[in-house]
Protein backbone atom coordinates (compact mmCIF):
# COMPACT_ATOMS: atom_id res chain seq x y z
CA UNK A 1 0.00 0.00 0.00
CA UNK A 2 2.74 2.42 1.02
CA UNK A 3 4.32 1.81 -2.36
CA UNK A 4 1.71 3.88 -4.08
CA UNK A 5 1.66 6.98 -1.91
CA UNK A 6 3.87 9.99 -2.39
CA UNK A 7 4.64 10.92 1.19
CA UNK A 8 7.35 12.79 3.02
CA UNK A 9 9.55 9.73 3.02
CA UNK A 10 9.20 9.37 -0.74
CA UNK A 11 10.21 12.98 -1.30
CA UNK A 12 13.13 12.68 1.09
CA UNK A 13 14.28 9.64 -0.87
CA UNK A 14 13.94 11.61 -4.12
CA UNK A 15 16.11 14.35 -2.67
CA UNK A 16 18.84 11.91 -1.68
CA UNK A 17 18.81 10.29 -5.10
CA UNK A 18 18.86 13.57 -6.99
CA UNK A 19 21.75 14.81 -4.90
CA UNK A 20 23.71 11.75 -5.90
CA UNK A 21 22.93 12.17 -9.61
CA UNK A 22 20.13 9.61 -9.84
CA UNK A 23 16.47 9.97 -10.75
CA UNK A 24 13.97 7.23 -9.89
CA UNK A 25 12.25 6.17 -13.10
CA UNK A 26 8.77 6.11 -11.55
CA UNK A 27 8.60 9.91 -11.59
CA UNK A 28 8.22 9.69 -15.39
CA UNK A 29 5.07 7.60 -15.33
CA UNK A 30 3.37 7.88 -11.95
CA UNK A 31 -0.17 9.36 -12.14
CA UNK A 32 0.04 10.73 -8.57
CA UNK A 33 3.29 12.48 -9.38
CA UNK A 34 1.68 13.92 -12.48
CA UNK A 35 -1.24 15.32 -10.49
CA UNK A 36 1.15 16.79 -7.97
CA UNK A 37 3.15 18.42 -10.76
CA UNK A 38 0.08 20.03 -12.27
CA UNK A 39 -0.57 21.82 -9.02
CA UNK A 40 2.91 22.45 -7.65
CA UNK A 41 4.85 23.00 -10.88
CA UNK A 42 2.43 24.18 -13.55
CA UNK A 43 0.18 26.03 -11.11
CA UNK A 44 3.10 28.13 -9.90
CA UNK A 45 5.64 28.68 -12.65
CA UNK A 46 5.68 31.18 -15.50
CA UNK A 47 4.25 29.63 -18.63
CA UNK A 48 5.03 30.85 -22.14
CA UNK A 49 1.84 31.92 -23.92
CA UNK A 50 2.72 33.79 -27.08
CA UNK A 51 5.14 36.11 -28.80
CA UNK A 52 4.10 39.74 -29.19
CA UNK A 53 4.43 39.52 -32.97
CA UNK A 54 1.47 37.11 -32.94
CA UNK A 55 -0.61 40.05 -31.72
CA UNK A 56 0.46 42.82 -34.09
CA UNK A 57 -2.51 45.16 -33.63
CA UNK A 58 -5.18 46.09 -31.10
CA UNK A 59 -8.02 43.58 -31.36
CA UNK A 60 -5.72 40.66 -32.15
CA UNK A 61 -6.01 37.60 -30.00
CA UNK A 62 -4.60 34.08 -29.72
CA UNK A 63 -5.89 31.17 -27.69
CA UNK A 64 -3.49 28.98 -25.74
CA UNK A 65 -3.36 26.51 -22.88
CA UNK A 66 -1.62 26.42 -19.53
CA UNK A 67 -1.87 22.64 -19.29
CA UNK A 68 -5.65 22.27 -18.86
CA UNK A 69 -6.57 25.92 -18.47
CA UNK A 70 -7.71 27.49 -21.73
CA UNK A 71 -6.21 30.96 -22.07
CA UNK A 72 -7.34 33.87 -24.20
CA UNK A 73 -4.56 36.39 -24.86
CA UNK A 74 -5.68 39.73 -26.26
CA UNK A 75 -4.23 43.03 -27.34
CA UNK A 76 -6.48 45.79 -26.07
CA UNK A 77 -7.40 49.05 -27.80
CA UNK A 78 -4.59 50.79 -25.97
CA UNK A 79 -2.12 48.10 -27.05
CA UNK A 80 -1.89 46.36 -23.70
CA UNK A 81 -1.51 42.56 -23.50
CA UNK A 82 -4.16 40.84 -21.38
CA UNK A 83 -4.85 37.19 -20.68
CA UNK A 84 -7.98 35.53 -19.32
CA UNK A 85 -9.35 32.14 -18.60
CA UNK A 86 -11.05 31.38 -21.90
CA UNK A 87 -14.27 30.39 -20.22
CA UNK A 88 -17.51 32.33 -19.99
CA UNK A 89 -18.20 33.54 -16.43
CA UNK A 90 -21.87 32.64 -16.78
CA UNK A 91 -21.82 28.86 -17.30
CA UNK A 92 -18.18 28.20 -18.04
CA UNK A 93 -18.44 27.62 -21.80
CA UNK A 94 -15.20 27.65 -23.77
CA UNK A 95 -15.62 31.20 -24.98
CA UNK A 96 -13.39 31.58 -28.01
CA UNK A 97 -12.65 28.41 -29.96
CA UNK A 98 -10.53 30.01 -32.69
CA UNK A 99 -6.75 29.69 -32.70
CA UNK A 100 -6.26 33.37 -33.40
CA UNK A 101 -7.99 36.30 -35.01
CA UNK A 102 -8.90 39.94 -34.74
CA UNK A 103 -12.14 41.24 -33.32
CA UNK A 104 -13.59 43.76 -30.90
CA UNK A 105 -15.41 41.38 -28.61
CA UNK A 106 -16.14 37.75 -27.78
CA UNK A 107 -19.69 36.49 -27.59
CA UNK A 108 -20.49 33.27 -25.80
CA UNK A 109 -22.43 30.86 -28.01
CA UNK A 110 -24.42 29.52 -25.04
CA UNK A 111 -26.45 32.54 -23.86
CA UNK A 112 -24.84 35.39 -25.70
CA UNK A 113 -22.88 37.16 -23.01
CA UNK A 114 -20.30 39.41 -24.63
CA UNK A 115 -16.87 40.42 -23.36
CA UNK A 116 -14.51 43.03 -24.78
CA UNK A 117 -10.73 42.81 -25.28
CA UNK A 118 -10.21 44.04 -21.70
CA UNK A 119 -12.27 41.10 -20.45
CA UNK A 120 -15.15 43.37 -19.41
CA UNK A 121 -18.65 41.96 -19.63
CA UNK A 122 -20.21 44.45 -22.02
CA UNK A 123 -23.38 42.68 -23.03
CA UNK A 124 -25.83 40.37 -21.35
CA UNK A 125 -28.52 39.03 -23.66
CA UNK A 126 -31.88 40.49 -22.58
CA UNK A 127 -30.03 41.83 -19.53
CA UNK A 128 -32.57 44.32 -18.19
CA UNK A 129 -35.49 42.06 -18.92
CA UNK A 130 -34.17 38.94 -17.20
CA UNK A 131 -31.86 40.20 -14.47
CA UNK A 132 -32.82 42.43 -11.63
CA UNK A 133 -30.74 43.32 -8.61
CA UNK A 134 -29.45 39.80 -8.23
CA UNK A 135 -26.74 40.47 -10.80
CA UNK A 136 -24.15 43.23 -10.86
CA UNK A 137 -22.70 43.14 -14.36
CA UNK A 138 -19.31 44.51 -13.29
CA UNK A 139 -18.75 41.46 -11.09
CA UNK A 140 -18.87 39.07 -14.02
CA UNK A 141 -15.92 40.05 -16.16
CA UNK A 142 -13.64 37.36 -17.59
CA UNK A 143 -11.34 35.95 -14.96
CA UNK A 144 -7.81 37.26 -15.59
CA UNK A 145 -4.78 34.98 -15.51
CA UNK A 146 -3.40 36.12 -12.15
CA UNK A 147 -0.03 37.27 -13.49
CA UNK A 148 1.15 38.32 -16.93
CA UNK A 149 4.68 39.28 -17.84
CA UNK A 150 6.48 40.16 -21.05
CA UNK A 151 10.19 39.91 -21.67
CA UNK A 152 11.70 40.84 -25.06
CA UNK A 153 8.42 40.09 -26.77
CA UNK A 154 7.86 36.79 -24.97
CA UNK A 155 4.50 36.79 -23.18
CA UNK A 156 4.21 34.59 -20.10
CA UNK A 157 1.37 33.91 -17.70
CA UNK A 158 1.34 32.55 -14.17
CA UNK A 159 -1.61 31.00 -12.34
CA UNK A 160 -0.08 31.81 -8.96
CA UNK A 161 -1.12 35.27 -7.71
CA UNK A 162 1.87 35.26 -5.34
CA UNK A 163 4.43 34.34 -8.00
CA UNK A 164 7.68 36.24 -8.17
CA UNK A 165 7.87 38.75 -11.06
CA UNK A 166 8.71 37.25 -14.47
CA UNK A 167 12.02 39.10 -14.65
CA UNK A 168 13.12 37.64 -11.32
CA UNK A 169 12.01 34.20 -12.41
CA UNK A 170 13.94 34.36 -15.68
CA UNK A 171 16.91 35.70 -13.74
CA UNK A 172 20.19 35.07 -15.54
CA UNK A 173 18.37 33.66 -18.54
CA UNK A 174 17.53 37.24 -19.50
CA UNK A 175 21.15 37.85 -20.48
CA UNK A 176 21.00 34.95 -22.95
CA UNK A 177 17.48 35.85 -24.10
CA UNK A 178 18.83 39.30 -24.96
CA UNK A 179 21.30 37.66 -27.36
CA UNK A 180 18.62 35.55 -28.99
CA UNK A 181 15.69 37.96 -28.96
CA UNK A 182 17.09 41.47 -28.95
CA UNK A 183 20.24 41.25 -31.07
CA UNK A 184 18.62 42.89 -34.06
CA UNK A 185 16.44 45.98 -34.37
CA UNK A 186 12.80 45.15 -33.90
CA UNK A 187 13.51 41.79 -32.27
CA UNK A 188 12.05 38.55 -33.52
CA UNK A 189 8.84 37.65 -35.31
CA UNK A 190 6.78 34.50 -35.41
CA UNK A 191 5.88 33.12 -38.82
CA UNK A 192 2.29 31.94 -39.12
CA UNK A 193 1.11 29.79 -36.26
CA UNK A 194 2.87 27.33 -33.98
CA UNK A 195 2.90 23.77 -35.30
CA UNK A 196 1.19 21.36 -32.96
CA UNK A 197 1.45 17.61 -32.63
CA UNK A 198 1.17 14.98 -29.93
CA UNK A 199 3.99 12.77 -28.71
CA UNK A 200 3.81 9.88 -26.29
CA UNK A 201 6.26 11.24 -23.73
CA UNK A 202 6.59 12.61 -20.24
CA UNK A 203 7.04 16.39 -20.22
CA UNK A 204 10.21 16.13 -18.13
CA UNK A 205 11.81 14.01 -20.83
CA UNK A 206 11.06 16.48 -23.62
CA UNK A 207 12.07 19.47 -21.49
CA UNK A 208 15.35 17.87 -20.54
CA UNK A 209 16.04 16.87 -24.11
CA UNK A 210 16.21 20.53 -25.16
CA UNK A 211 17.42 22.19 -22.00
CA UNK A 212 20.08 19.82 -20.89
CA UNK A 213 21.10 17.09 -23.29
CA UNK A 214 23.52 17.73 -26.17
CA UNK A 215 24.92 14.25 -25.41
CA UNK A 216 22.03 12.59 -27.26
CA UNK A 217 22.90 14.29 -30.53
CA UNK A 218 25.80 12.02 -31.43
CA UNK A 219 23.57 8.94 -31.40
CA UNK A 220 19.94 10.04 -31.82
CA UNK A 221 20.81 12.29 -34.74
CA UNK A 222 23.51 10.09 -36.22
CA UNK A 223 21.64 9.95 -39.51
CA UNK A 224 22.50 13.63 -40.05
CA UNK A 225 26.15 12.68 -39.80
CA UNK A 226 25.64 9.79 -42.18
CA UNK A 227 23.98 12.15 -44.63
CA UNK A 228 27.00 14.46 -44.42
CA UNK A 229 25.00 17.35 -42.91
CA UNK A 230 26.48 17.23 -39.39
CA UNK A 231 30.18 17.10 -38.45
CA UNK A 232 31.74 13.63 -38.27
CA UNK A 233 33.44 14.37 -34.95
CA UNK A 234 31.79 12.09 -32.33
CA UNK A 235 32.40 14.73 -29.70
CA UNK A 236 30.21 17.21 -31.55
CA UNK A 237 28.24 18.93 -29.95
CA UNK A 238 30.04 18.48 -26.66
CA UNK A 239 32.22 21.54 -27.26
CA UNK A 240 31.29 24.78 -25.61
CA UNK A 241 29.66 25.51 -22.28
CA UNK A 242 26.74 24.09 -20.41
CA UNK A 243 25.40 26.83 -18.18
CA UNK A 244 23.35 26.21 -15.06
CA UNK A 245 20.96 29.07 -14.33
CA UNK A 246 18.72 29.84 -11.39
CA UNK A 247 15.15 28.53 -11.01
CA UNK A 248 15.84 25.37 -12.95
CA UNK A 249 16.74 27.06 -16.24
CA UNK A 250 19.72 26.18 -18.37
CA UNK A 251 21.43 26.74 -21.69
CA UNK A 252 24.09 25.08 -23.81
CA UNK A 253 26.33 27.42 -25.76
CA UNK A 254 27.79 25.01 -28.28
CA UNK A 255 30.91 25.72 -30.31
CA UNK A 256 32.16 23.99 -33.45
CA UNK A 257 35.30 22.56 -31.87
CA UNK A 258 37.69 22.91 -28.97
CA UNK A 259 39.08 26.23 -30.27
CA UNK A 260 35.79 27.92 -29.40
CA UNK A 261 35.95 29.80 -32.71
CA UNK A 262 33.17 29.54 -35.23
CA UNK A 263 33.81 28.82 -38.91
CA UNK A 264 30.63 30.78 -39.65
CA UNK A 265 30.37 33.86 -37.40
CA UNK A 266 27.02 34.79 -35.86
CA UNK A 267 25.48 31.43 -36.76
CA UNK A 268 25.53 32.33 -40.42
CA UNK A 269 23.45 35.48 -40.09
CA UNK A 270 23.94 37.89 -43.04
CA UNK A 271 26.98 40.10 -42.75
CA UNK A 272 24.81 43.15 -43.33
CA UNK A 273 23.27 42.49 -39.90
CA UNK A 274 26.50 42.27 -37.94
CA UNK A 275 26.77 46.01 -37.21
CA UNK A 276 23.27 45.76 -35.76
CA UNK A 277 24.39 43.02 -33.38
CA UNK A 278 27.36 45.14 -32.36
CA UNK A 279 25.05 48.00 -31.55
CA UNK A 280 22.50 45.98 -29.59
CA UNK A 281 24.71 43.65 -27.57
CA UNK A 282 27.42 44.07 -24.96
CA UNK A 283 30.90 43.00 -25.99
CA UNK A 284 30.56 39.80 -23.91
CA UNK A 285 27.24 38.90 -25.53
CA UNK A 286 28.64 39.71 -28.94
CA UNK A 287 31.63 37.44 -28.40
CA UNK A 288 29.37 34.57 -27.44
CA UNK A 289 27.07 35.12 -30.38
CA UNK A 290 29.95 35.39 -32.81
CA UNK A 291 31.41 32.05 -31.73
CA UNK A 292 28.52 29.81 -30.75
CA UNK A 293 27.14 27.56 -33.46
CA UNK A 294 24.07 26.46 -31.45
CA UNK A 295 22.23 27.87 -28.45
CA UNK A 296 19.90 25.29 -26.97
CA UNK A 297 18.21 25.51 -23.61
CA UNK A 298 15.06 25.95 -21.66
CA UNK A 299 13.09 27.94 -19.15
CA UNK A 300 11.84 25.65 -16.40
CA UNK A 301 9.57 23.81 -16.50
CA UNK A 302 8.47 23.34 -20.12
CA UNK A 303 9.67 26.03 -22.50
CA UNK A 304 12.48 24.86 -24.77
CA UNK A 305 14.36 26.78 -27.42
CA UNK A 306 17.02 26.22 -30.01
CA UNK A 307 18.88 28.71 -32.13
CA UNK A 308 20.13 26.56 -34.95
CA UNK A 309 21.67 27.01 -38.37
CA UNK A 310 21.30 24.56 -41.19
CA UNK A 311 21.17 24.41 -44.95
CA UNK A 312 17.68 23.91 -46.36
CA UNK A 313 17.27 20.27 -47.51
CA UNK A 314 18.09 21.43 -51.00
CA UNK A 315 21.70 20.41 -51.17
CA UNK A 316 22.49 24.08 -50.65
CA UNK A 317 25.74 24.73 -48.80
CA UNK A 318 24.76 28.05 -47.23
CA UNK A 319 23.36 27.79 -43.72
CA UNK A 320 20.45 29.78 -42.37
CA UNK A 321 19.76 30.57 -38.74
CA UNK A 322 16.43 30.41 -36.97
CA UNK A 323 15.11 30.46 -33.43
CA UNK A 324 12.63 27.76 -32.50
CA UNK A 325 10.55 27.92 -29.31
CA UNK A 326 8.77 24.91 -27.87
CA UNK A 327 6.12 24.45 -25.25
CA UNK A 328 5.75 20.88 -24.04
CA UNK A 329 2.15 20.97 -22.85
CA UNK A 330 1.48 18.00 -20.58
CA UNK A 331 -1.59 15.96 -21.50
CA UNK A 332 -0.92 13.15 -19.03
CA UNK A 333 2.07 11.40 -17.50
CA UNK A 334 2.88 9.85 -20.88
CA UNK A 335 1.67 12.46 -23.33
CA UNK A 336 2.64 15.96 -24.46
CA UNK A 337 1.24 18.28 -27.04
CA UNK A 338 4.20 19.95 -28.71
CA UNK A 339 3.78 23.61 -29.68
CA UNK A 340 6.59 24.74 -31.92
CA UNK A 341 7.12 28.35 -33.05
CA UNK A 342 9.41 29.36 -35.89
CA UNK A 343 10.88 32.79 -35.23
CA UNK A 344 13.33 34.89 -37.18
CA UNK A 345 14.81 38.37 -36.88
CA UNK A 346 12.33 40.95 -38.13
CA UNK A 347 15.23 42.87 -39.62
CA UNK A 348 16.59 39.94 -41.64
CA UNK A 349 16.32 40.18 -45.44
CA UNK A 350 13.10 38.58 -46.75
CA UNK A 351 14.94 36.06 -48.90
CA UNK A 352 17.00 34.99 -45.89
CA UNK A 353 13.85 34.55 -43.80
CA UNK A 354 12.35 32.26 -46.41
CA UNK A 355 15.48 30.09 -46.50
CA UNK A 356 15.61 30.01 -42.69
CA UNK A 357 12.06 28.74 -42.67
CA UNK A 358 12.99 25.93 -45.05
CA UNK A 359 15.96 25.10 -42.83
CA UNK A 360 13.64 24.90 -39.84
CA UNK A 361 11.13 22.65 -41.61
CA UNK A 362 13.89 20.35 -42.75
CA UNK A 363 15.46 19.99 -39.31
CA UNK A 364 13.18 20.76 -36.34
CA UNK A 365 9.62 20.95 -37.62
CA UNK A 366 7.67 17.72 -37.02
CA UNK A 367 8.83 16.55 -40.44
CA UNK A 368 12.41 17.68 -39.73
CA UNK A 369 15.07 15.05 -40.05
CA UNK A 370 16.38 15.77 -36.53
CA UNK A 371 12.96 16.10 -34.92
CA UNK A 372 11.65 12.79 -36.25
CA UNK A 373 14.20 10.76 -34.39
CA UNK A 374 13.86 12.72 -31.14
CA UNK A 375 10.14 11.96 -30.92
CA UNK A 376 10.77 8.28 -31.58
CA UNK A 377 13.15 8.12 -28.62
CA UNK A 378 10.87 10.06 -26.26
CA UNK A 379 8.06 7.62 -27.04
CA UNK A 380 10.33 4.67 -26.33
CA UNK A 381 11.06 6.09 -22.86
CA UNK A 382 7.33 6.34 -22.13
CA UNK A 383 6.82 2.80 -23.40
CA UNK A 384 9.47 1.41 -21.08
CA UNK A 385 8.51 3.37 -17.96
CA UNK A 386 4.99 2.18 -17.26
CA UNK A 387 5.57 -1.24 -15.76
CA UNK A 388 5.83 -2.50 -12.21
CA UNK A 389 9.60 -2.56 -12.19
CA UNK A 390 10.06 0.97 -13.52
CA UNK A 391 7.27 2.32 -11.33
CA UNK A 392 8.25 0.80 -8.04
CA UNK A 393 8.63 3.63 -5.52
CA UNK A 394 10.68 1.57 -3.11
CA UNK A 395 13.25 1.12 -5.84
CA UNK A 396 13.38 -2.61 -5.25
CA UNK A 397 14.61 -3.03 -8.80
CA UNK A 398 17.22 -0.32 -8.67
CA UNK A 399 15.01 1.60 -11.04
CA UNK A 400 17.01 4.81 -11.08
CA UNK A 401 18.12 6.73 -14.15
CA UNK A 402 21.67 7.86 -14.62
CA UNK A 403 22.52 11.58 -14.35
CA UNK A 404 26.08 11.09 -13.22
CA UNK A 405 27.91 12.78 -16.08
CA UNK A 406 30.42 15.22 -14.66
CA UNK A 407 29.12 14.92 -11.08
CA UNK A 408 31.68 16.30 -8.60
CA UNK A 409 34.30 16.19 -11.34
CA UNK A 410 33.83 18.93 -13.93
CA UNK A 411 34.58 22.34 -12.45
CA UNK A 412 33.01 25.61 -13.65
CA UNK A 413 34.95 27.81 -16.07
CA UNK A 414 35.38 31.14 -14.30
CA UNK A 415 36.50 32.86 -17.51
CA UNK A 416 33.16 32.32 -19.31
CA UNK A 417 31.74 35.76 -20.13
CA UNK A 418 28.08 34.98 -19.42
CA UNK A 419 26.24 34.75 -16.09
CA UNK A 420 25.35 31.47 -14.39
CA UNK A 421 27.57 28.53 -13.52
CA UNK A 422 29.26 27.66 -16.81
CA UNK A 423 30.94 24.32 -17.26
CA UNK A 424 33.47 24.01 -20.08
CA UNK A 425 31.75 21.11 -21.79
CA UNK A 426 28.22 20.34 -23.02
CA UNK A 427 28.31 16.58 -22.52
CA UNK A 428 27.26 17.00 -18.93
CA UNK A 429 24.26 16.40 -16.65
CA UNK A 430 24.68 19.59 -14.63
CA UNK A 431 21.61 21.33 -16.10
CA UNK A 432 19.49 18.18 -15.72
CA UNK A 433 20.46 17.83 -12.07
CA UNK A 434 19.68 21.50 -11.56
CA UNK A 435 16.24 21.01 -13.15
CA UNK A 436 15.51 18.06 -10.89
CA UNK A 437 16.58 19.99 -7.81
CA UNK A 438 14.30 22.90 -8.61
CA UNK A 439 11.50 20.53 -9.54
CA UNK A 440 11.73 18.86 -6.14
CA UNK A 441 12.01 22.20 -4.38
CA UNK A 442 8.67 23.24 -5.92
CA UNK A 443 7.08 19.88 -5.08
CA UNK A 444 7.94 20.17 -1.41
CA UNK A 445 7.42 23.93 -1.07
CA UNK A 446 4.98 24.91 1.70
CA UNK A 447 4.91 21.38 3.01
CA UNK A 448 6.80 19.86 5.83
CA UNK A 449 8.34 16.55 4.89
CA UNK A 450 8.78 15.82 8.59
CA UNK A 451 5.03 15.75 9.04
CA UNK A 452 4.89 12.52 7.16
CA UNK A 453 2.06 12.10 4.74
CA UNK A 454 2.49 14.66 2.05
CA UNK A 455 -0.78 14.73 0.18
Amino acid sequence: MSKNIINGKTLQMLREKIESGLLPQWVLSDPDMYELELEKIFGRTWQFLAHESELPEPGCFVTRWIVNDPVLVTKTKSGEIKAFLNSCTHRGTHLCAADYGKQKSFTCPYHGWTFNLEGKLIGVALGDKVYGEEMKKEEWDLRPIPKIGVYQGMIFGNLDPDAMPLEDYLGNMKWYFDILLARSDGGMEVKGVPQRWVVQANWKVTSENFEADPYHVQMTHRSAKELGIAPKDPFFPGYGHQVVLENGHGINVITADATGRSPFPFQGMPESMWPMFERNLTSEQLELMRNAIVFVGGVFPNLGFISFSAPPLEGETNIYNYLNFRVWRPLGPDKVEVWSWFTIDKAAPEEYKEKSYLSYLGTFGPSGILEQDDAEIWARIAQASGGLMARDKELSYNNVLNYLMGLDRVEPDETFPGPGVAYPICFLDAVSRNMHKYWLELLIKDHSIAEGVYR
Partner: protein, 167 residues
Protein backbone atom coordinates in the same frame (compact mmCIF):
# COMPACT_ATOMS: atom_id res chain seq x y z
CA UNK B 1 -15.14 13.75 -68.26
CA UNK B 2 -13.13 11.32 -70.31
CA UNK B 3 -13.51 7.90 -68.60
CA UNK B 4 -10.20 6.65 -69.96
CA UNK B 5 -8.38 9.60 -68.46
CA UNK B 6 -10.18 9.08 -65.17
CA UNK B 7 -9.13 5.42 -65.15
CA UNK B 8 -5.57 6.25 -66.11
CA UNK B 9 -5.13 8.85 -63.36
CA UNK B 10 -6.88 6.73 -60.75
CA UNK B 11 -4.56 3.87 -61.56
CA UNK B 12 -1.57 6.15 -61.34
CA UNK B 13 -2.51 7.42 -57.87
CA UNK B 14 -3.23 3.91 -56.62
CA UNK B 15 0.10 2.74 -57.94
CA UNK B 16 1.82 5.65 -56.24
CA UNK B 17 0.16 4.73 -52.94
CA UNK B 18 1.38 1.17 -53.38
CA UNK B 19 4.97 2.32 -53.89
CA UNK B 20 4.82 4.50 -50.78
CA UNK B 21 3.24 1.82 -48.61
CA UNK B 22 5.89 -0.64 -49.68
CA UNK B 23 8.67 1.86 -49.11
CA UNK B 24 9.77 1.75 -52.72
CA UNK B 25 10.79 5.37 -52.36
CA UNK B 26 13.27 5.50 -55.20
CA UNK B 27 10.60 4.38 -57.63
CA UNK B 28 8.28 6.90 -56.03
CA UNK B 29 10.81 9.70 -56.66
CA UNK B 30 10.66 8.77 -60.36
CA UNK B 31 7.02 9.79 -60.37
CA UNK B 32 7.90 13.34 -59.39
CA UNK B 33 8.57 16.07 -61.93
CA UNK B 34 11.88 17.89 -61.59
CA UNK B 35 10.08 21.16 -60.89
CA UNK B 36 7.88 19.58 -58.22
CA UNK B 37 6.27 21.74 -55.54
CA UNK B 38 5.18 19.58 -52.59
CA UNK B 39 3.67 21.22 -49.55
CA UNK B 40 1.40 20.65 -46.59
CA UNK B 41 0.00 23.84 -45.06
CA UNK B 42 -1.21 23.93 -41.47
CA UNK B 43 -4.88 23.52 -40.67
CA UNK B 44 -6.18 26.14 -38.28
CA UNK B 45 -9.37 26.95 -36.43
CA UNK B 46 -10.66 30.44 -37.07
CA UNK B 47 -13.80 32.36 -36.26
CA UNK B 48 -16.01 32.71 -39.25
CA UNK B 49 -18.03 30.95 -41.84
CA UNK B 50 -18.12 27.20 -42.12
CA UNK B 51 -17.11 27.23 -45.74
CA UNK B 52 -13.86 29.06 -45.12
CA UNK B 53 -10.92 26.80 -45.74
CA UNK B 54 -9.16 27.35 -42.39
CA UNK B 55 -5.81 26.79 -44.00
CA UNK B 56 -2.65 28.64 -43.02
CA UNK B 57 -0.45 28.85 -46.08
CA UNK B 58 2.20 30.81 -44.25
CA UNK B 59 3.03 27.84 -42.00
CA UNK B 60 3.48 24.42 -43.49
CA UNK B 61 4.54 20.97 -42.32
CA UNK B 62 6.29 20.18 -45.58
CA UNK B 63 7.70 22.64 -48.11
CA UNK B 64 9.62 20.44 -50.47
CA UNK B 65 11.20 20.23 -53.87
CA UNK B 66 12.27 17.09 -55.65
CA UNK B 67 15.81 17.73 -54.45
CA UNK B 68 14.82 17.97 -50.80
CA UNK B 69 12.66 14.85 -51.07
CA UNK B 70 15.68 13.01 -52.47
CA UNK B 71 17.60 14.06 -49.33
CA UNK B 72 14.77 12.75 -47.14
CA UNK B 73 14.75 9.44 -48.96
CA UNK B 74 18.53 9.23 -48.64
CA UNK B 75 18.22 9.71 -44.90
CA UNK B 76 15.83 6.79 -44.65
CA UNK B 77 18.56 4.70 -46.22
CA UNK B 78 21.02 5.48 -43.40
CA UNK B 79 21.23 2.86 -40.64
CA UNK B 80 20.24 5.34 -37.93
CA UNK B 81 17.01 6.98 -39.07
CA UNK B 82 15.35 5.77 -35.86
CA UNK B 83 11.93 7.15 -36.70
CA UNK B 84 11.72 4.63 -39.53
CA UNK B 85 13.64 1.81 -37.88
CA UNK B 86 12.16 -0.60 -38.45
CA UNK B 87 9.78 0.99 -40.88
CA UNK B 88 6.29 1.59 -39.59
CA UNK B 89 3.60 -0.28 -41.51
CA UNK B 90 1.66 2.28 -43.45
CA UNK B 91 -1.32 2.53 -45.77
CA UNK B 92 -2.32 5.37 -48.02
CA UNK B 93 -6.01 5.07 -48.78
CA UNK B 94 -6.75 7.28 -51.77
CA UNK B 95 -10.32 7.95 -52.81
CA UNK B 96 -12.72 10.50 -54.30
CA UNK B 97 -10.38 11.11 -57.20
CA UNK B 98 -11.75 13.92 -59.31
CA UNK B 99 -10.13 15.57 -62.30
CA UNK B 100 -10.70 19.28 -62.30
CA UNK B 101 -10.11 21.67 -65.16
CA UNK B 102 -6.60 21.74 -66.55
CA UNK B 103 -4.98 25.11 -65.90
CA UNK B 104 -2.35 24.58 -68.59
CA UNK B 105 -2.68 22.39 -71.62
CA UNK B 106 -1.41 18.93 -70.87
CA UNK B 107 -1.63 19.45 -67.11
CA UNK B 108 -4.52 18.23 -65.05
CA UNK B 109 -5.52 19.36 -61.61
CA UNK B 110 -6.62 16.33 -59.65
CA UNK B 111 -8.31 16.33 -56.28
CA UNK B 112 -8.28 13.27 -54.05
CA UNK B 113 -9.04 12.35 -50.46
CA UNK B 114 -6.47 10.52 -48.38
CA UNK B 115 -6.52 8.48 -45.21
CA UNK B 116 -3.06 7.68 -43.96
CA UNK B 117 -2.68 5.10 -41.21
CA UNK B 118 0.38 3.54 -39.69
CA UNK B 119 1.49 1.26 -36.87
CA UNK B 120 4.85 1.73 -35.25
CA UNK B 121 6.64 -1.19 -33.63
CA UNK B 122 4.15 -3.16 -31.59
CA UNK B 123 2.21 -0.07 -30.52
CA UNK B 124 -1.46 -0.69 -29.93
CA UNK B 125 -2.37 2.77 -31.11
CA UNK B 126 -2.87 3.48 -34.77
CA UNK B 127 -1.61 6.83 -35.92
CA UNK B 128 -3.60 8.49 -38.62
CA UNK B 129 -3.99 11.58 -40.70
CA UNK B 130 -6.66 12.40 -43.23
CA UNK B 131 -7.54 15.16 -45.60
CA UNK B 132 -7.43 16.21 -49.17
CA UNK B 133 -4.72 16.49 -51.78
CA UNK B 134 -4.67 18.74 -54.81
CA UNK B 135 -2.22 17.53 -57.43
CA UNK B 136 -1.11 18.84 -60.75
CA UNK B 137 -0.28 15.91 -63.02
CA UNK B 138 1.30 16.03 -66.42
CA UNK B 139 2.56 13.54 -68.95
CA UNK B 140 6.26 13.53 -69.67
CA UNK B 141 7.48 11.13 -72.36
CA UNK B 142 4.25 9.23 -72.10
CA UNK B 143 4.44 8.85 -68.31
CA UNK B 144 2.48 10.64 -65.62
CA UNK B 145 4.48 12.91 -63.34
CA UNK B 146 3.39 14.83 -60.28
CA UNK B 147 4.20 18.47 -60.93
CA UNK B 148 2.77 19.71 -57.67
CA UNK B 149 0.99 18.40 -54.63
CA UNK B 150 -0.70 20.35 -51.85
CA UNK B 151 -1.78 18.30 -48.87
CA UNK B 152 -4.55 19.71 -46.69
CA UNK B 153 -4.70 17.84 -43.40
CA UNK B 154 -7.98 17.83 -41.49
CA UNK B 155 -6.28 17.91 -38.08
CA UNK B 156 -5.06 21.13 -36.44
CA UNK B 157 -3.15 19.13 -33.84
CA UNK B 158 -1.49 16.16 -35.51
CA UNK B 159 -1.92 12.85 -33.73
CA UNK B 160 1.35 11.55 -35.12
CA UNK B 161 4.64 11.63 -33.31
CA UNK B 162 6.40 12.77 -36.45
CA UNK B 163 5.96 13.33 -40.14
CA UNK B 164 8.57 10.91 -41.39
CA UNK B 165 6.26 9.68 -44.13
CA UNK B 166 5.35 11.03 -47.56
CA UNK B 167 1.72 11.75 -48.26
Amino acid sequence: MNPELQFDITNFLHHEAYLLDHRRYKEWLDLLADDLVYRMPARITTEGKHNEPNIMNEMTFFEETKKSLITRVKRLDTPSAWAEYSGPRQRHFISNIYIESSPKSGEYQVRSYFLYQRCRGSDLDIEQLHGERVDVLRKENGKWKIASRTIYPDQTVLRLINLSMFL
